[in-house]
Symmetry: C2
Amino acid sequence: MAFVHSLNLVPRVLKGEVNAVARLLTRAEAGSHECRPALDEIFRRAGRAHIIGITGVPGSGKSTLVARLVAAIRQTGRRVGIVAIDPSSPFSGGAILGDRIRMGAIAADPGVYVRSMATRGALGGLARGTLEAIDVLDAAGYEMVIIETVGVGQDEVEVARATHTTVVVSAPGLGDDIQAIKAGILEIADIHVVSKCDRSDADKTVADLKNMLSMGLASARGSWQVPVVPTSAARDEGVAELVAAIDRHWTFLREGNRLEERRRLINERRLLKAGEEILRDQFVRQRNGQVLKLLEQLQARTLSPRTAAERLLQDIHPGDAP
Amino acid sequence: MAFVHSLNLVPRVLKGEVNAVARLLTRAEAGSHECRPALDEIFRRAGRAHIIGITGVPGSGKSTLVARLVAAIRQTGRRVGIVAIDPSSPFSGGAILGDRIRMGAIAADPGVYVRSMATRGALGGLARGTLEAIDVLDAAGYEMVIIETVGVGQDEVEVARATHTTVVVSAPGLGDDIQAIKAGILEIADIHVVSKCDRSDADKTVADLKNMLSMGLASARGSWQVPVVPTSAARDEGVAELVAAIDRHWTFLREGNRLEERRRLINERRLLKAGEEILRDQFVRQRNGQVLKLLEQLQARTLSPRTAAERLLQDIHPGDAP
């Protein structure tokens, strides 16, 4: 198979060709310089999809929920792209399987595209290429793009800042420590889901969430009333209600200039993240040059990290291709 | 109380004056520009302390362990500084209490200094000022500086990259999802601790860890044999063994040029992080200027995030004070 330049993949991505989508996503995830002009063009052509983040603490049953949610969305005729971010070793880069397998049933549907990406903890927050992956699926015509994260903390907040609608999944009966961590991500929710509502202690979780929302956290979402949607995979309940809540939030955003505001926040994050990526590229490029010299001075403690970084930044010429 | 310039606090920090330490830490955490020359000077004067990271999944009993560990270290006569990183809302910046309270008993000891810092999830990884806090405690003469993190994932890996010795705490009987996440942080351990070893299922956790280590992960640590230390807070067992393991690792590092290598890795991370901080400062400074114009072009999708970031970086003059 001859090498196809990324820019030549763009028209095929725009026509929704799965093969072209897959190849461009692989290059985006690898951080290939060759694909940058293509991703720039994809960014310019994207902007129609409803981007949905789904996040939850470990053990919340989130992956099962996502599989059912996608099936329910498909019944409304819409195409769905999924970016699944796996927890993985920052050293090996290897993904942990398991949750992915449950997606098998829907993966055969041509109206669904699932892309699994490893996190790159060491580089901070979202995996490289995640935001570009959203653009690619958006430009390829998927009406809804779902970002699913496994884990807690940093990544979830990053995801919330890259999406239009954030769904936070909670489950009854998780331990106190888990609940404490969860507190940090509760505020990012546009929609709460309580899974496993066949359990007897689920009512308490639903009540706790509603109680917390009534205490004023909802105000962070403007006039949007954050709903709490109970679901049960065992009883096959609540997923249609979740689709309805997601659609209702999308309608809400498109009233007035709310969607524009949300997009503006997303773009702020992207600008900053892109800057950080350029900085890291410079670091790698200069590893045996200027960076080496600065490190020697840090090692001898004759220079502080801040002063060394200032010198590194002064020498950045971002346009340089490696 | 008149304002004392940060540079004037430095000699007092070097003498170990707790009051000066506290004030400089507060300024470092706030990201005050005024204290930068002082922190630069502190960096140059630091470099003697043994920096220890202690991390573990939620529910691992880590905080109880840290309290006992500190008490045991104090019995050897050494002074201990502790930087405790709290999970907190990225929006409110408010810390979750609870774990901190357990530290109360040792907080009255003048040979122990405890500093609690909020995470700043939104800015990626470690809280601002964490690395500087290590320097300050190091320069103030604490022979051991312990960084304790609550939570899982990103922060832990960052902590491991800022310390000489990383202790990972596991507990028996945590769920599968927790274990999966834990897999990502197991590799960062120089020392494993299994807490709650009074439980009957603890033997299995110890055996699992040893088994995993024997499968070759230990090779990442060179010739260091990663020990698995069983502890029990209920039976007051294992803490002396943990102190011994930590001391053994410090001795190991100081043989050959291992400590220099570790310090070099730490300095690499610090250089990159300092660069990211300068970038963020520029972003904030230009929020109503160049950043505003770039965001308008992103919003109109006439410019890609990457190109916009290149333009932002070209205009950075790091030396500018705001």
